[in-house]
Symmetry: C3
């Protein structure tokens, strides 16, 4: 059970209600009318909790769980403890996510503008928006419905946002057009000038950054992540893309749909990512590269060249996965051989 | 043309006016009185636009451009499309930067202190300063002329700034002396305590951080970049140095003039960089190193030793460029050979 | 002497007073009643200054120092210049830290709530707290005694803090229980949602993040560092742990006591660190790992496996220190041999 000081639980819900919501089949003991009050991990769940098994690594824990109902895929379902009620779905983690959302729905913003917030009179806000303490919204900004602008956040002039956007505390947004259901986490920085200047022996000459940041729907931008606006073209982040904390996205970068960028990764200017690209933590990409759909970039990889669709690359400079493993095995073999010389 | 919701265009300007401003020679068709209204990339430029060619990679695009005038270096000028008007200069990117500044001059701050800003009565501000909504300026701070203190920014006690400094939204500055024409991007953190403590089995003992941050003129500090103040000596950033986003600069670091630090690089305490050093993205330097003038540190390099002036180093631990390439080639060769064994 | 615009000096103090405070033995010339007015490095110290020698690298500077008194360990004490007064202790850096704290004690917060701060009426603050300009404290937050909430910082609903906590400018804290004497540096982000979602071809499904962040006593969290709250379990940071700037700590991570995490390191979700672990700058750990007590992770290392207590690992992927050095030596040898072929 989540700490009630911070989280409010909804429900209770029956197994049947949960099955309907997450699209799973009731199996095992099949007690459709059993009542559940919360979610919990397999090892600590009680008869009142919904739990789930996704990673086969935890099958042993599953065999001994006391959870009231377990969301599980068809292949692992036979390992259930005797008498357990199951919710069988090919995507148990997704099922768990939806069940957890039932018990812990995100509270909607409490509409209203805090007296200490500073909203320019020329800005427009859709119905149901909350603008929290000391937030600042600039002239001409257009905010959709039910948006939440967190405390001390700053929305710059002429920024456009869709509906149900949540901007975290102390975040800043400028020169940006943002879709619906986007989450900008605390301290994220959207739309500042890209890193553009012409060298000069006295002082670099600044290149005006004349593009914008375009963000699709259902995007997350992590805490203290930075997304620079374009230099002339725009910086683009496709719908459904998830960006973790402390990520750097340079000017003119284009990211496709449903990509995942893990923490502290960095993408240099003008590089383009297709759809469903997985970018590991602390990996880096040089500028002007093309990364194909479904490519997978390992953690700490350093990309100097394009990556083909579906390819997995590792290392710095990055090479295809198999080559990386061969390089590494041979290096270790060589080191151990020399040790014995 | 930049999005007019976010950018206001100046001009129009004639070819002759632009040539005079950027110091280029009119060539090609040489229509000095042609009128231009904006800037654009070669591929999308129209007869009303100024464009430029810097990277020989884009010569083919240059041959087919419809731009009204193209800024180009003397060597590539002969590749121009028939009838094109050219502005010839040995530094076309610099020329473009200056031309773009003509069309999109940065608006000066609108002088005044927002009613919600909190400026200590003992702080002094030069004429023409703008202090935006909810910004905070501490006691004894001395701000020069025409500075822009962005929304929710915090300027600590006794901080000194020159003229024409711009501090971004939600940035914070403390224990710092800052030159003129400096830009501190949103969320940058200047002058907090360095990472200093003496180990102790119960709890580390904090070492008071008694230095400052000294920043020269014409410096940029990127979004969410952190610059710790000195432990006793000062942390110093020389004039004309450009620092990208999410960079870490430890206490007592000294950086010379016109260095470039790319995003997510990190410099440990007491390391010294000369002038014109290039620091690649995600590279790291151990503490107490000396990096010579004009040295080049590759992206993701890890420096454990000093670097000579003009030297290029790569890899982690970093080695001279040629050695790095040899190591890499041999490793790949070995891996491919073993594969065929 | 520290810049008096930024730092206020206490004292003066006699050698005897300092010896008593730092627990050192007076030796050398042994002038216990000599009066000191500040601290300074060996090379610039005058007869009025306390200095220290910790690193044997600086013995030559020690031999020539003009410092009024030098804190030094017993082994290096014989290298002192003739006539010098010494304070001998096995931990000279710790001794210096305590002496510097005598001369430059941190001013206590000036109690009071700034008129521009927004403190929810249901929040409670202990005696002696300072809430600075434009800070925001949410409903039900419980703040201990003598805490300092910096300008534009945001403390979320129901957050609990012990005594003598200092929250830097523009930092944000939510869903967190924090001990005493903790320092959260400017721009640090505590308690936002972890990076949790279930893949889906249309848009990822968010997994509610139902845990908290638990921080012990005497912890430092660096500028712009991010600590996500747990997904169900809590994210835990043990007492006495020091975290540098721009570090990423994922959901469910558990860190023991007195660990040190250097700048730009990253720890993925559910990884557990024991006590006294040293984590180098820009190193990364995959998720679900176990790192033993006293382990040492080199800068830029990339951990894919567990690390034994006391083990030192280097490289990406990380291997034991000796193996790393052998791999590196052999690679360089191979490269140089081939060069001469």
């Amino acid at each position: 059970m989540a700490d009630p000081r911070f989280f409010t639980v909804a429900g209770p819900f029956s197994v049947a209600e949960i099955a309907a919501r997450i699209g799973a089949e009731i199996a095992g003991a099949g007690k459709a009318d059993r009542i559940l009050t919360s979610v919990a991990p397999l090892e600590s769940a009680t008869a009142d909790d919904v739990s789930f098994l996704d990673n086969p690594h935890y099958v042993e824990t599953f065999r001994n769980t006391k959870a009231g109902v377990v969301i599980v895929n068809p292949k692992l379902a036979p390992q259930a403890p005797a008498g357990a009620t199951l919710l069988v779905t090919p995507q148990p983690y997704r099922g768990y996510a939806l069940a957890a959302q039932m018990f812990y729905p995100e509270p909607p913003p409490t509409p209203g503008i805090a007296p200490s917030a500073v909203v320019d009179p020329t800005a427009t806000l859709g119905e149901g928006c909350a603008v929290e303490a000391n937030a600042v919204i600039g002239p001409g900004a257009t905010i959709g419905k039910r948006c939440l602008i967190g405390p001390n956040a700053v929305i710059g002039a002429s920024v456009v946002m869709g509906d149900d956007v949540r901007v975290g505390a102390n975040a800043s947004v400028a020169y940006a057009m943002i879709g619906s259901r986007v989450r900008l986490y605390p301290g994220s920085r959207i739309g500042q000038d890209g890193f553009g200047f012409a060298p000069d022996p006295v002082a670099p000459v600044k290149v005006p950054q004349l593009g914008r940041v375009l963000i699709g729907d259902d995007v997350e931008v992590g805490a203290n992540t930075t997304v620079d606006r374009g230099a002339g073209p725009d910086t683009v982040i496709g719908s459904g893309t998830m960006i973790d904390n402390l990520v750097q996205i340079g000017h003119n970068v284009q990211i496709g749909r449903c990509c995942v960028l893990v923490a502290q990764s960095g993408i240099s200017g003008s590089t383009r990512l297709g759809n469903y690209v997985m970018v590991g933590g602390q990996s880096a990409m040089a500028g002007h590269l093309t990364i194909g759909d479904g490519a997978r970039i390992a953690a700490q990889a350093g990309l100097m060249r394009d990556v083909n669709p579906g390819e997995t690359v590792m290392g710095s400079p990055a090479v295809p996965r198999l080559e990386f493993h061969r390089m590494n095995i041979n290096l270790r073999r060589l080191a151990n051989k020399r040790k014995n010389d």
